[in-house]
Symmetry: C2
Subunit: 142 residues, 2 copies
């Protein structure tokens, strides 16, 4: 989660909402992603999607059954769906997202009967620092 | 929808689940996408995501408020989320997806109170041909 928090801070310095993600496989980091929809002109470029795409490209396959995802914020519906498509084994996330989250809030995607893959979910990892980054970012823009 | 159906057929010939999508702006086609998670080693490479990313890149921005999306199959949660993030104005889709759909089925994403953007939705456009492509594809694999 340290690397995900560092990626989140880098996103914030670049003027993007500070969220970072890392895909790991065993003890190895396979890919790091920082939230970058504006920089990349890509509405899908959330940290999780960037990290999952990079990990899948690095491993040369579209399923990451042996990989885990670490992300500083509760995933939205788009990212929860991508996590299921990628067959991510374990999801670790930091701060809760009452507005846009889709794991513990809103559609609670992994609890839907139509959800075809449910990772193990661990919430609150690095939550304090992840939430502080987001609070600082939005306070500076007000 | 004709171009989306052609993209779906091309995906099927390439061994991918036959789904196609097109982003339009006024009368112009901005981008076409075909489902390609296997070919691209990218679990996020659904037709909608491919088309939305290409359209955003072509227009040089991450919001497509003035664009519409045409897709041959009801979008999943990942794609519905991406449609909301991209601020797509109108969504036209073909076949229903009882298993993985997230617009009229499962999480019904656009009806969730936490959904921050709801496109106008038109279902059943080109449904017969879209569903026949999918039936043919899965029948051939059994």
């Amino acid at each position: 989660m340290r690397a995900a928090l560092d990626a989140a801070a880098a996103a914030g310095r670049a003027g993007e909402v500070p969220v970072g993600a890392v895909v790991t496989r065993g003890d190895a980091m396979v890919a790091v992603g920082a939230n970058a929809p504006r920089a990349l002109s890509d509405p899908t470029a959330h940290a999780e999607i960037v990290a999952i795409r990079a990990a899948a490209a690095a491993l040369g396959r579209d399923r990451l059954e042996d990989c885990d995802l670490w992300v500083t914020l509760e995933p939205c519906a788009m990212c929860a769906g991508a996590i299921a498509h990628a067959r991510i084994r374990r999801l670790y996330y930091g701060a809760e997202d009452e507005k846009g989250g889709a794991v513990a809030h809103g559609p609670r995607f992994f609890t839907q009967p139509t959800c075809h893959h449910r990772p193990e979910v661990y919430a609150g990892i690095g939550e304090g620092e992840a939430a502080a980054l987001l609070r600082g970012f939005f306070a500076a823009r007000r």
